[in-house]
């Protein structure tokens, strides 16, 4: 029974690992772009001679790099299968959607972790910053908890390519772009137009970033360029609680929506290979 669950789950990790290996050039290009993009954003803080701005931008760039990579890997997994023409074979395998999408999520998380480590390493070469006094372990906990909600969002976005072979894949980028806009990744949510600000409440990135900033000590008046005063995990319990709740709600909701979309696609013939 355990083999029936974990071996198929591992199959997706196995597949994605070898796909990344075979498409290594793409992985290198995307990672290089992520490093450069994060560095150019963070260097705005350096140019402004404002260590708080630098750290805010740095944190936003790194956190978004991780969350976006994970979200994108999950959301695009169906588009990828459509492109390769393997979607029907995956869907006719005796694998529950929970096992399927958990396998994809594990793989996506692994990919995102490797990429964010490379991004941080790249940033150390390009951007002068120090994190002495920051609660880095706490930030790691926030990212892990926040990952759950992003998995749920990824599952919801993965529905789009199931429903529309032509437009579903690109539409996931709109989904991702909206989250980037409303979550206050590089700026406070308060600078958004008033009508848009309420949307930030629904993005898990808002809470992940808010908690991470506290743990980093960016907004703490006692922090100095040489020594940050990061908060403890107890101080960010409200955000952690919201992130946990979001994860607990979004993963089952994402699976439910995915199952409904799959049923619809089987009724309308949308699983058929295209491209």
């Amino acid at each position: 029974m355990i083999e029936r669950i974990f071996r198929p789950m591992w199959a997706f990790v196995f597949r994605d690992f070898h796909l990344n290996r075979r498409y290594l050039n793409w992985v290198i290009v995307f990672t290089f772009y992520a490093v450069v993009n994060s560095a150019t954003i963070a260097l705005i803080g350096v140019a402004a001679h404002d260590f708080r701005l630098l750290l805010r931008l740095l944190l936003g760039a790194v956190t978004w790099s991780y969350l976006a990579a994970m979200f994108s890997e999950i959301a695009q997994s169906i588009s990828w299968e459509r492109w390769e023409g393997t979607l029907e074979y995956t869907f006719m395998a005796p694998v529950s959607r929970l096992v399927h999408l958990t396998g994809v999520s594990i793989s996506a998380t692994g990919y995102a972790v490797v990429r964010v480590v490379l991004v941080v390493l790249g940033l150390t070469l390009l951007v002068p910053f120090q994190l002495h006094g920051a609660n880095l372990l706490g930030i790691l906990v926030v990212l892990i908890v926040g990952s759950l909600a992003f998995m749920g969002l990824g599952l919801m976005a993965a529905v789009l390519p199931v429903m529309s072979p032509e437009h579903g894949g690109p539409a996931t980028n709109i989904f991702q772009g909206l989250m980037l806009l409303v979550s206050g990744v590089y700026y406070p949510v308060a600078v958004l137009p008033k009508w848009l600000q309420p949307a930030s409440v629904f993005s898990p990135a808002t809470y992940a970033l808010s908690a991470s900033r506290q743990l980093l000590g960016v907004d703490n008046p006692k922090s100095t360029p040489g020594h940050l005063v990061g908060a403890s995990l107890m101080d960010v319990l409200p955000q952690l609680g919201i992130l946990l709740l979001m994860g607990a709600a979004m993963i089952p909701l994402g699976l439910f929506i995915f199952n409904r979309a799959e049923h619809w696609a089987k009724c309308t013939g949308k699983l058929k290979r295209t491209g």
């Binding site: 083999e3 071996r7 196995f14 070898h18 029907e88 074979y89 005796p94 049923h263 089987k266 009724c267």
Partner: protein, 280 residues
Amino acid sequence: MQDAACFKETMEEAQRDNPAIVVEDLKKVFRKRSGFAGTKVTEQWALKGISFRVEDREIYGILGPNGSGKSTLIRILSTLLIPDGGTVQILGHSLPRDEFWIRQHIGRVSVDAAFYKKLSARENLLYAAQLYGIKPADAQRRAMEILKRLRLESKRFNDPLEEMSRGMQQKVSVTRALLINPPLLLLDEPTTGLDPRSKRDVQEYLEDLRAEQGTTIVLTTHDMAEAERMCDRIAFLAHGRIVAEGIADELKAKAGVDNLEEAFIELTGEKFDDESEESS
């Protein structure tokens, strides 16, 4: 090749209460929206109420031109489409209620060898095997055995699929379907576009498979010679309906002609190479 009349007699003598597939009044319609805001809906009936049964260990052929509903039928049997009417029983289990069980017991080969093209045959096959809960070592051993019988050089096992010919890719596709040793194999034009040698390799292996393992096979094809050679019974499918069914000799006799292609034209009223858009 098994004598068709003899086979028919054997089948009739056999216990007929355990057919591999029973399809009753199966219907499938595809709706296309067009016009402003998609308000105009046009219906295209792919299957208009077809019924047939496939006996255990039988090779059942479905012949029809493009757009006749062959692929739609195979997709329904593969649990990839939900029909709009009728019932389907596979190996004693109903669709869609028992689709998970059915998926564990069927293998499918489609006309396009759908693989991750950059991955090797080995990587593709081990991925597929693990989806079915098979250990990689066991899967690799079985894959090598099947590929050897299909006359694919073992040194190609680690080559990316994109570097293989269509014939080689299709042999890997057949191997993927057989990794789980399924009692029922659904083949949707598996030899279309293959060179004569590759076509013969696949056909011979499928015949051996039925003889050795007792695998039931549903085969859709455009190839009259292939159908006549391999299939115990053949159904002519045209415009979503089965217009005739029987052993090849029966169909020819019914049409009063001496080859299967003429029988098809006579019984369906259309040429076999008619091209129309496949709805699904």
